[in-house]
């Protein structure tokens, strides 16, 4: 790892960050975002039509209900299902553009009324999970990299172990140890910060393994660079060099990884939400897919896509703050 990429610190880093001036970036990103949202909605819309089963059956309460032909016709007209698929698609897009995601087939109320209260708990969960993941990853990096073979080995081993653990198993173990046996945290429910800790740790621990592996190698590389020696020769302590110089270089690749991670956290939150009996988008999505509640499924997909976009934009901005060379490099 340390023999490869000896020149990486002198060249512009490889990154997913968009090039150009801040104004150009916002424009490029805005255009890209609209496209991504459209593509996500369109793809999901048509794929869900391919799933066997008639939406009308769902609306009327499943297979046990045996509706009359008239009832079916009325319902079809009410939900616009009597029109050709393409017309339905255009109507749906028009609705989304105005903020109307339709009516849930199962609950018979506007989609946003159902999903609205679910959004915040999931964002809290995903946000805290990412925070924990970074805290764990940075702790490992700062405490074990370049601290002798033993600590290095321990750090490496624990990271691989963390990365290999499935979140559901971590969740169950955490619940058993810290909630059931020790009683430090509530077993389930949505009751303030305390009830957030275990579910977000369940998501954070595997993610921390991934992030730490990336930051470890770039931290190692940075520590071997001559500018670290220069800083030490100026009279800086080992800790100051690690925090002030090496860490900044080590964060960059992990940051790119985080953009992907937060999006996937929102969708994988379902595991923690089910184990710890929390409300949330992930849970709503699974329920909606099982019940063939198309409008809710579509809306959740839309929200997740939007989160991906916003987070990537944030990471882009953060990347520029940490590595100012990108802008200059693009301008030169």
């Amino acid at each position: 790892m340390s023999t490869a990429a000896t020149t990486s610190h002198t060249e512009l880093p490889r990154t997913t960050a968009t090039s150009g001036s801040p104004g150009q970036v916002v424009l490029k990103r805005a255009a890209g975002s609209v496209f991504v949202l459209w593509a996500a909605v369109t793809l999901t819309f048509f794929v869900l039509r391919l799933v066997p089963g008639d939406p009308v059956t769902t609306i009327l309460g499943g297979h046990s209900a045996a509706p009359s032909a008239e009832t079916v016709a009325v319902v079809k007209a009410q939900y616009g299902l009597d029109q050709p698929v393409l017309v339905q698609y255009v109507n749906y897009l028009a609705g989304v553009a105005t903020g109307n995601f339709g009516t849930s087939y199962v609950f018979k109320v506007p989609v946003l009324d159902i999903l609205g209260p679910q959004i915040l708990p999931t964002f809290q969960l995903a946000g805290l999970a990412l925070l924990f993941a970074w805290a764990i990853a940075l702790a490992f990096t700062l405490l074990t990299v370049g601290r002798g073979r033993l600590l290095d080995g321990i750090g490496r081993g624990v990271e691989v172990l963390f990365a290999a653990l499935p979140p559901f198993w971590v969740g169950i173990m955490l619940a058993v140890v810290f909630a059931v046996i020790l009683g430090w945290f509530p077993v389930a429910g949505d009751d303030g910060f305390k009830s957030l800790v275990l579910p977000s740790l369940a998501l954070a621990i595997p993610l921390a393994g991934f992030i730490a592996q990336v930051t470890r190698s770039s931290f190692e590389e940075a520590l071997a660079q001559p500018f670290i020696l220069s800083a030490r020769a100026r009279g800086l302590s080992d800790l100051a060099v690690r925090l002030g110089h090496a860490l900044r270089h080590a964060i960059l690749p992990g940051l790119t990884l985080s953009a992907w991670a937060i999006g996937s956290l929102v969708s994988s939150a379902v595991v923690a939400e089910i184990i710890f009996a929390r409300p949330g988008l992930g849970r709503s999505l699974v329920d909606a897919i099982i019940n063939r509640d198309l409008p809710i499924t579509l809306a959740v997909v839309f929200i997740i896509a939007a989160v991906y976009i916003v987070v990537n934009l944030l990471v882009d901005v953060l990347y520029r703050v940490i590595d100012p060379r990108i802008q200059k490099g693009a301008a030169a």
Partner: protein
């Protein structure tokens, strides 16, 4: 820190008081400022998985204020480890022992890490080799300098900013207010190196250690940096600098210590060591300097032992190579490389690129040259002079905007109606081959040495795979490498061996012209001498024509029959090498020549 405060001198009228004389008297047990260094029998060893490795053995040094001590030797001779010991920054697995290790009057062996931090930066400034990687690329140079002030307790934002600017100014950087806000990547090589010196000297240390401070710099920039270091010395500071280049050393050093294999093999007054070297290793180092030696003279000791007309059958370390000179293989390709036309001829080449703000930047402007068969044409110029673009056009890799190139009479590259397509060129590609500065990055890291060479033969599809293996072994022998290296990875070879592999690869398809782009710039002087000797032998044996690009005038003088001096994309002067160097016609050439450090005449 307070109790060990040493003679620190601050200029610039800051709030820090002149603590010099008083504290020097207070620390009476120290060398009373007479001697900055007093080292007896210093040894440093590293523990590795394969046991202890001694890197520095029984080294004794002394240095007085206002003097410069040069540590000279090849890579791996222990110079850098010795220097790092003086700032307590050796790797964790290093073991340092000494009968006496006094740095600035303190027993360096007894210093705690905390005490070292008070010394580093404040009393000893340490300047590393390459500023591009020795300054944090994510931070501005101002922040880097400011950090040194902060680490040593200088408070007050305005005062710190002023001292940052002053340090940059002292290091000869114009517009320090602007430069302080730039990062190392935005500065030119010379400014960068000055900024690096500024961050090491902002606290006015008594002792400055510079590790290869001018290596990889252009000659004129190198001269400026040497002047700057000389200025530090005149201010009464002690200067230790490390170099493998004796010509550089000759300009600056009062004392020289020549290191080989971790030991000092010769030391003494600089003028005496250079004029009258006693140890054969010192003599070899001095002989290896190409600048004075005329074309045709051998530079390396091994090269002098064998006659130049004989096949080169000695390896880099002097042992005989595996097989005799390569048996010539019939050229399978039918190329019409003319016997009468010049090997490579360029007429009126120009190339420009779109720059910022829509302004086209001309990087090559009306360049013409003729490379005669079997001769060497040297192109010399500083970075940004258009050498590399000219080389790329000559290789047929970059399309010129105007002008033509012919290769052995064949239309090789051109602009407009004379454009030559790559399809037409491909047949002639084997005739011109490239050797560049950094061979390692031109090798596929997964390839073994043998594979690197056979891969080039595969490209020409000559003979059976077995023939190619035989031929690859012959080629290795031809460049003086033993057959035992065939299965090694290039990463495990020394710099000189790698460059030999690159040359073997370039020779694989029996070219007529070799384009040598800074082929020895990254090598130690003595290794450089061996590679230059090898190239001279190959030219004699194979009748090769060389287009030799370098920023090093000494090397260019030694190898070239004709020389082209380039500046800002133009040819400022060209002509016969000896005449041009003896009697330069333009100011620019004179300026370049004046910047080349030269050794005093040998006794």
């Amino acid at each position: 820190m307070g109790s060990t405060a040493n003679t620190a001198k601050y200029d610039g009228g800051t709030s820090v008081t002149e603590a010099g004389a008083a504290s020097a008297a207070a620390t009476g047990s120290t060398g009373s400022g007479k001697s900055l260094l007093n080292i007896e029998r210093l040894s440093v060893s590293f523990s590795t998985p394969r046991g202890r490795v001694d890197v520095v053995r029984d080294v004794s040094l002394a240095l007085a204020p206002g003097k410069a001590l040069a540590l000279v030797g090849e890579s791996g001779s222990g110079k850098t480890v010795t220097a790092r010991t003086l700032v307590g920054l050796n790797a964790a697995n290093a073991r340092v022992t000494a009968d006496r290790l006094e740095v600035l009057g303190r027993d360096a062996l007894a210093l705690s890490e905390r005490q070292w931090r008070g010394v580093r930066g404040k009393e000893i400034g340490y300047v590393l080799q390459d500023a591009l990687v020795s300054l944090d690329p994510l931070r501005t140079v101002g922040q880097e300098i400011d950090e040194a002030l902060g680490a040593h307790g200088v408070r007050g934002k305005a005062e710190r900013l002023e001292r940052v600017h002053q340090a940059l100014r002292d290091a000869g950087i114009p517009d320090p207010e602007v430069r302080a806000r730039q990062r190392s990547g935005e500065l030119s090589g010379g400014l960068r190196q000055r900024a690096l010196i500024a961050q090491a000297t902002v606290l006015n240390p008594q002792l400055v250690i510079a590790d290869e401070p001018t290596t990889a710099l252009d000659a004129t920039v190198q001269a400026q940096i040497l002047e700057l270091l000389e200025g530090l010395k005149e201010q009464g500071r002690g200067l230790i600098f490390i170099s493998h280049d004796l010509a550089v050393v000759g300009r600056l050093a009062d004392e020289i210590a020549v290191m080989q294999g971790g030991r000092i093999v010769e030391s003494g007054r600089a003028s005496e060591v250079l004029a009258n070297p006693q140890h054969e290793y010192t003599q070899a180092l001095i002989d290896a300097i190409p600048s004075g030696a005329a074309k045709g003279t051998r530079l390396s000791a091994a090269g002098r032992a064998t006659s130049s007309s004989a096949a080169v059958t000695t390896t880099a370390n002097g042992t005989p190579a595996a097989t005799s000179a390569a048996a010539p293989i019939e050229r399978v390709r039918a190329t019409e490389f003319s016997a009468t036309a010049p090997a490579l001829e360029a007429r009126g080449l120009a190339k420009s690129y779109p720059g910022p703000g829509g302004i086209r930047r001309t990087v090559v402007h009306d360049v013409s040259f003729t490379l005669e068969r079997g001769k060497t044409l040297g192109i010399v110029g500083e970075s940004g002079s258009g050498k590399s673009t000219t080389a790329r056009i000559a290789l047929g890799l970059t399309q010129p905007d105007t002008g033509t190139v012919t290769l052995g009479g064949f239309a090789w590259a051109g602009a407009g109606s004379e454009t030559v397509s790559e399809d037409e060129r491909r047949r002639h590609r084997p005739d011109i081959q490239l050797v560049n500065q950094d061979p390692l990055s031109s090798f596929d890291p997964r390839f073994s040495v043998g594979k690197v060479v056979t891969d080039a033969l595969d490209a020409g599809a000559i003979g059976t795979p077995r023939d190619r293996t035989t031929r690859a072994l012959d080629l290795l022998a031809q460049v003086g490498l033993p057959a035992s290296l065939f299965d090694r990875r290039p990463l495990t070879l020394s710099g000189g061996q790698r460059q030999r592999v690159a040359i073997a690869r370039a020779l694989a398809l029996q070219p007529q012209v070799l384009l040598l782009d800074e082929p020895v710039s990254a090598l130690d002087v003595s290794i450089q001498a061996q590679v230059l000797d090898l190239l001279a032998d190959l030219q004699d044996q194979l009748g090769l024509s060389y287009l030799f690009i370098s920023h090093d005038l000494g090397v260019i003088h030694h190898v070239s029959d004709h020389v082209l001096v380039m500046k800002d994309g133009r040819v400022v002067e060209s002509g016969n090498a000896d005449e041009l160097f003896a009697n330069p016609q333009t100011d620019y050439t004179r300026q370049l020549l004046a910047a080349v450090p030269e050794l005093p005449a040998r006794a």
